[in-house]
């Protein structure tokens, strides 16, 4: 695009700035819009899982505009700062959290050619930047001058510092398979059939996917790891004292980080922007670089990637509203006694697998794992979707809920 702009008489420097500006604006818009979507989705998912409706009124049948209404309310709210708070830290903490979550998107490829900045160490960069999001949350907990927030901050610090270790080791497992930290290359390597996805590559990557996803959920402080927030015991933890736009910045950061973690998982394990049945990259199949077909292929790639990321975010919500919150000692035990040793074994295992196992066996195992996992997944989905409601319960027809006539007349 830079060369395209320079043809129209712009200096390369200016063109570079314009392209960088456009990329940044697109990313901010994406993070903000997906947060809007996720908040609505979260309410709906929570409602359905708890056998309620979720939002139904604002913006028609499904409550589409609920988040917009929330956003307007948040903008109109007074931005209060407690008298006991450290004003400087209190003000700056939401921005640090949001920047941490947002800057990670710079290196996240949405498609082979749709990345703000292709980096050689992209996955390492993303993990590094997202670790600074935590610092914003801890500062918020400390700077609020409230005991609830302080407890939230302490828990967050203890939890995140521990979970960073198995998360990083979990990332290393597919990186060893790929031989690079470049997310674009990792995505390109998984072109072709679904058995080329790294999650099916060998038993160790299959396990590493779950380890990474668990640690990723923990690092986004999502339930069952939401100890920093813990609404039922710490009021709202680190953001007890926040209101208005600063509060919503924390939420944008949280939902941004959820998508970033899901995006990393999608690229490292789930084939990135590939559909899983095409022999090559869709954009390259539809046309040469710069043609209309190439462009359409890229758009489809980006859509595929985003849908995969959304599915993982949906799984995070599903987990959140299904599992109870862990205690802090259980959180630490899960990490240090189980996740960390398992991750180390996986790291050793995948190294041995890459070095010592002959390619023929590796291929057979790969096809076998693909078939078995997809079969189990299909079985699981069929069971979930066709599950009959428990006896004595009326099958919910939720979106067309009307009050009982007897209730309306009383």
């Amino acid at each position: 695009v830079v060369s395209f702009l320079t043809e129209y008489g712009l200096s390369p420097v200016l063109a570079g700035f314009i392209v960088a500006f456009i990329a940044a604006v697109v990313l901010v818009t994406f993070v903000a819009l997906s947060a809007v979507f996720f908040i609505w989705l979260e309410r709906k998912v929570a409602g359905r899982i708890q056998d309620r409706l979720g939002p139904t009124r604002v913006g028609g049948k499904f409550g589409w505009l609920q988040t917009i209404a929330d956003g307007l309310k948040l903008i109109a709210k007074e931005d209060t700062i407690p008298a006991d708070a450290d004003h400087f830290l209190f003000r700056i903490a939401p921005y640090i959290a949001f920047c941490g979550a947002f800057v990670a998107f710079l290196a996240l490829p949405f498609g082979n050619y749709a990345v703000a900045k292709e980096m050689n160490v992209a996955v390492f960069f993303m993990l590094a930047v997202m670790s600074s999001e935590v610092f914003g949350i801890i500062l918020a907990g400390y700077g609020s001058g409230s005991k609830w927030s302080l407890f939230g901050g302490i828990r967050e610090a203890a939890q995140v510092v521990s979970y960073e270790v198995p998360r990083a080791i979990g990332v290393l497992v597919p990186v060893i398979v790929a031989g690079t930290l470049n997310l674009n290359t990792i995505g390109r390597n998984q072109a072709g059939g679904i058995w080329n996805w790294y999650v099916f590559h060998d038993p160790f990557t299959l396990a590493a996917f779950f380890i990474f996803f668990t640690c990723g959920t923990a690092s986004c402080k999502r339930a069952p790891f939401d100890l920093a927030e813990a609404e039922s015991e710490l009021v709202a933890g680190f953001h007890t004292e926040y209101s208005g736009l600063r509060w919503s910045l924390f939420f944008m950061a949280e939902y941004g980080a959820m998508f970033a973690i899901s995006g990393i998982a999608t690229i490292l394990f789930l084939g990135g922007w590939h559909l899983g049945f095409l022999p090559g990259d869709l954009s390259e199949m539809l046309g040469t670089s710069g043609s209309v077909g190439w462009f359409i292929g890229n758009v489809i790639n980006v859509c595929v990637f985003i849908v995969k990321g959304w599915l993982l975010v949906f799984v995070m919500m599903w987990v959140r509203w299904t599992l109870p919150r862990l205690r802090i000692d259980q959180v630490m035990m899960t990490c240090l006694k189980y996740l960390l040793p398992i991750a180390c074994v996986l790291l050793l295992g995948v190294s041995v697998w890459q070095l010592a196992v002959p390619p023929l066996i590796r291929d057979y195992v790969r096809y076998g794992i693909t078939a078995v996992s997809l079969g189990l997944l299909a079985l699981f989905l069929v069971r979930v979707l066709s599950a009959a409601p428990p006896k004595g319960m009326i099958p919910p027809s939720m979106d067309s809920w009307t009050p009982h006539p007897a209730e309306t007349h009383t």
């Binding site: 050689n120 160490v121 390492f124 590094a128 670790s131 400390y142 700077g143 960073e164």
Partner: protein, 199 residues
């Protein structure tokens, strides 16, 4: 001035300014917050040099690890709501002397070194093979810095007699050391149960 130079001075100025604030602020956690900007600015300088690996390492080690632990420690140990530090006159004197000496060393190093005057090759973060080079240098397969000139050698003692240096052993020693620290920390922090005394 080129774009890179403008960005360099911008980032360097912000880094230096926030480093000054680290020293001047008396509240530990505020100092930590300013230190965040200092460290992030240093990482940004590395990114400007297309040394992405070092920049990301800087962020993950110092921001994600050290700074979090600093604030964590303050939160666990502080008696009052916000900790402030008052430095005594002796501390001021000592730190001033040490600081001036260190600054002098830096200035001397910067001014006496013969810096290469040829413009460096333009490096792109996406296509320079930094991690691969790092890995091969660890194993001693390639020189760690193939394009850099060694400084500090007497004239004539050029690189011909230099041996290939592999960093695998020190790397492994550090790794094992860190693993020992991890296990030791878990051992020390374990829940201690009294052994039941047989009656």
């Amino acid at each position: 001035m080129t774009v890179t130079a403008v960005l360099f001075w911008l980032v360097a100025g912000l880094t230096g300014g926030s480093a000054l604030m680290v020293v001047l602020s008396q509240n530990i956690v505020r100092a930590a917050a300013w230190l965040l900007f200092t460290l992030a600015g240093t990482a940004a300088l590395y990114f400007l040099l297309a040394a992405d690996f070092v920049g990301a390492t800087q962020l993950i080690v110092y921001v994600g690890g050290t700074l979090v632990l600093v604030v964590f420690g303050v939160m666990l140990t502080a008696q009052g709501p916000f900790v402030t530090m008052k430095a005594g006159a002796a501390e001021w004197a000592v730190t001033t002397v040490v600081g001036i000496l260190f600054f002098g060393v830096l200035v001397a190093t910067a001014s006496f070194t013969v810096w290469p005057t040829t413009p460096p090759e333009r490096a792109d973060a996406a296509f320079s093979s930094t991690t691969q080079q790092l890995g091969e240098a660890f194993l001693g397969a390639t020189e760690a810095m193939p394009r850099a000139n060694l400084t500090g050698l007497p004239a004539g003692a050029r690189a011909e007699h230099r041996q290939q240096v592999a960093y695998l052993l020190p790397f492994e020693i550090i790794s094992v050391h860190l693993l020992v620290v991890l296990i030791g920390a878990a051992y020390l922090a374990r829940a201690k149960r009294r052994r039941e005394v047989a009656a």
